[in-house]
Symmetry: C2
Subunit: 250 residues, 2 copies
DNA sequence: ATTGTGGGATTGTTGAACAATACTTCAATC
DNA sequence: GATTGAAGTATTGTTCAACAATCCCACAAT
């Protein structure tokens, strides 16, 4: 071995603070490391939204805690999280139940959606392209689902579409709130035992709205969306009140 | 005692189901009977919003549970509730802290407020009178507070004013979300150690907006509100970033 | 000044215990 | 026969004590 390894020019350079500041951010504030309660909540959330746990179902603390290998206390923490999201409702000394929305809830949900979605669409002029693109991919997702006749996926795509619309507002808090509202809306379909084809006719509507958005015709898009919400709400409320009458008139 | 008490004509009539249905509803679904965790959460919420617990403060499970005579588990349930409201933030294995919003949060909060408030005002034409009246009484509340030079109450009145604006949308879910957004906004003032007179100049602005509303000139009211939000946000963000620079440039 | 290396403090989670409340069952009454 | 009353049972509300996992801090070593 002739000669020595040339020492690297300027080896052992400590990174300046400047450089460090320029480093990419960690994905999520450096691995938030979810707690057990949050993991259980995540799992239950999926069950509720997908309908594995039907609205009105009571969740027994003891059985669930044994089934999923967590203590009752931990499970209760999870319940609290989901209650705040309105997916579960907590009744003192009676337990927690999967939320079963009423027709009044349906009206309120649509009222909230109007407030969130329509202004977002109307102000879409200065929304970032990334947000508009999200709307487009939700449309594509819906069409793919229809091609496969996967009705549940179509419903999911529809939710994504409307979440993307609210996303045009560009506020993280609005986004999260909208997600909750849509999750609760999904419960409505479970309560009704809605035929999953329910969403089918709305796909074209979504496509048209997105079309308007790409044409930068936000106002027309907003008008179409408004009509969409009106008819969708009416259809739901009608079906819902009929079901409610059937239920308590016996 | 002469004679017998005449039996009441038709005494012991059982109420028909019809009659029972017509009975007034109980105030709140028949005494929801709050749990201990909720009571603790209510208490802590007030502390946080009023600033008795400053942003960034860490809440020790052991000390708080001993101080308020509840178990750690119960206290943790309360923490979960408040974390979902973004008043506390939970860091795994580190504990819970009073949320300390950043300038980015301020921008997001105002973005959310724009989405919630402006459309509500613009659509105020078909808002119920009761909701408009709430706006008026918030204005009055602010003027009363100014008369007494009670600056903290002025801030509260300002919050009530904007909550009332969002209330014009007429959705319970929107109302609750708005309350959360405003509570978090209040934290911003605590972070800044804002002089409480901060709110003073906005009182007249509020009065003007309300004036427009009573005149049924919703569009002008919306424009004024939009300007209000712009200037308020700018003022806050400016002060905020200055403070942040001071803090981490040291 | 930076990097290991403890020890101490705090949180995460569990299991068991008990009180308080709701539900169920069945007998007694009108 | 339907309603009321009074058991007993099941479930939730809450506490307590324990232990593992993790973080924080001070101090020594380089």
């Amino acid at each position: 071995m002739e000669g020595t390894n040339p020492p690297l020019e300027g080896a052992h350079v400590t990174a300046t603070d400047d450089l460090i500041d320029r480093l990419p951010e960690p994905p999520e504030a450096l691995a938030p490391a979810t707690s057990q309660a949050e993991r259980v909540a995540d799992m239950l959330r999926v069950f509720v939204i997908d309908g594995a746990l039907a609205p009105g179902t009571r969740l027994s603390e003891e059985r669930l805690s044994r089934k999923y290998g967590v203590s009752r206390n931990t499970l209760r923490e999870a319940f609290r999280l989901l209650s705040r999201e309105r997916l579960l409702v907590h009744q003192m000394h009676r337990g927690v139940f999967v939320n079963r929305p009423t027709s009044e809830d349906v009206r309120d949900l649509f009222s909230a959606r109007r407030t969130l979605e329509i202004p977002a669409v109307r102000g879409a002029r200065d929304a970032c392209d990334r947000a508009v693109a999200a709307v487009g991919s939700a449309v594509a997702e819906g069409q793919a689902a229809r091609a496969q006749a996967d009705w549940w996926a179509m419903g999911t795509a529809n939710m994504h579409f409307h979440r993307a619309l609210a996303g045009l507002a560009g506020s993280a808090r609005i986004n999260e709130f909208m997600s909750q509202v849509l999750a609760e809306t999904r419960l409505v379909f479970h309560v009704m035992n809605a035929p999953e084809q329910f969403h089918a006719p709305y796909l074209d509507w979504n496509r048209r709205i997105h079309q308007r958005l790409t044409e930068r015709d936000a106002d027309t898009a907003a008008v179409e969306l408004s009509r969409y919400l009106d008819t969708s709400e009416e259809q739901l409320v009608t079906a819902f009140t009929a079901m409610e009458r059937r239920a308590d008139g016996r």
